[in-house]
């Protein structure tokens, strides 16, 4: 189980490379979005590994935060206001 968490962290490091390197703003946005979803699955694996059932709530919260943040940034890139 721990080796799966390590492999997922390697994937998060790839996303971090793209977020630091990426030539445009949407590159960084999608990298951070994917990184948050990976953190959500890492949290689910930690809930299974350490038998802490409340960590899965954190996983759901991370998925929600990722979705809302990406939608807000997409609206901003289109040049519309948030209540449009």
């Amino acid at each position: 189980m721990s080796i799966l968490i390590v492999i997922l962290s390697l994937g998060a490091f790839f996303c971090l490379y793209r977020a630091l390197q990426g030539p445009s703003i949407p590159d960084r946005a999608i990298a951070v979005d994917i990184m948050t979803v990976i953190f959500s699955s890492i949290t689910a694996l930690m809930a299974l590994r350490y038998k802490l059932a409340y960590l899965i709530d954190l996983s759901i919260a991370l998925a929600v935060i990722s979705f809302v943040g990406t939608l807000a940034l997409a609206k901003y890139l289109e040049g519309r206001s948030l209540d449009d």
């Binding site: 996303c15 990298a31 994917i34 979803v37 059932a53 979705f67 939608l71 901003y76």
Partner: protein, 117 residues
């Protein structure tokens, strides 16, 4: 038996996620990267959550993992689609190997495929 199925689901989910992150590093332009990363990570996260559900059964942890899998399956493609549309309007160039750009030409604009060097 169910435990073995759970391990298979967890391992395939982690593999898909790692391949998606590799695509995020290696592909040539924003839209290719977005497609690779979004699809692979959606499937990988659903696999991991399904594995957690299979390994714990109908407990609080398992059912919440199933709900999280459903939520990720719905929302990550929607967010990526909105971001792709926003970045086309923002003016991010397509890769020079792209053959068609119907989104901007249908609206009467110039195609924004990157120039060949």
């Amino acid at each position: 038996m169910i435990d073995v199925l759970g391990w298979i689901s967890l391992c395939s989910g982690v593999g898909f996620t790692l391949l998606g992150c590799l695509g995020l590093v290696r592909f040539p332009d924003l839209y290719n990267r977005m497609q690779a990363a979004t699809k692979c990570v959606t499937l990988g996260t659903c696999g991991i959550m399904l594995g957690v559900f299979l390994k714990t059964g109908f407990s609080a942890l398992g059912v919440k993992a199933l709900v999280c899998a459903l939520f990720v399956l719905i929302t990550v493609p929607v967010a990526a689609h909105a971001l792709a549309r926003g970045s086309l309007i923002f003016g991010v160039k397509l890769w020079k190997g792209t053959v068609k750009d119907e989104f901007t030409t249908d609206r009467g604009g110039e195609s924004i495929i990157e120039e060949k060097r």
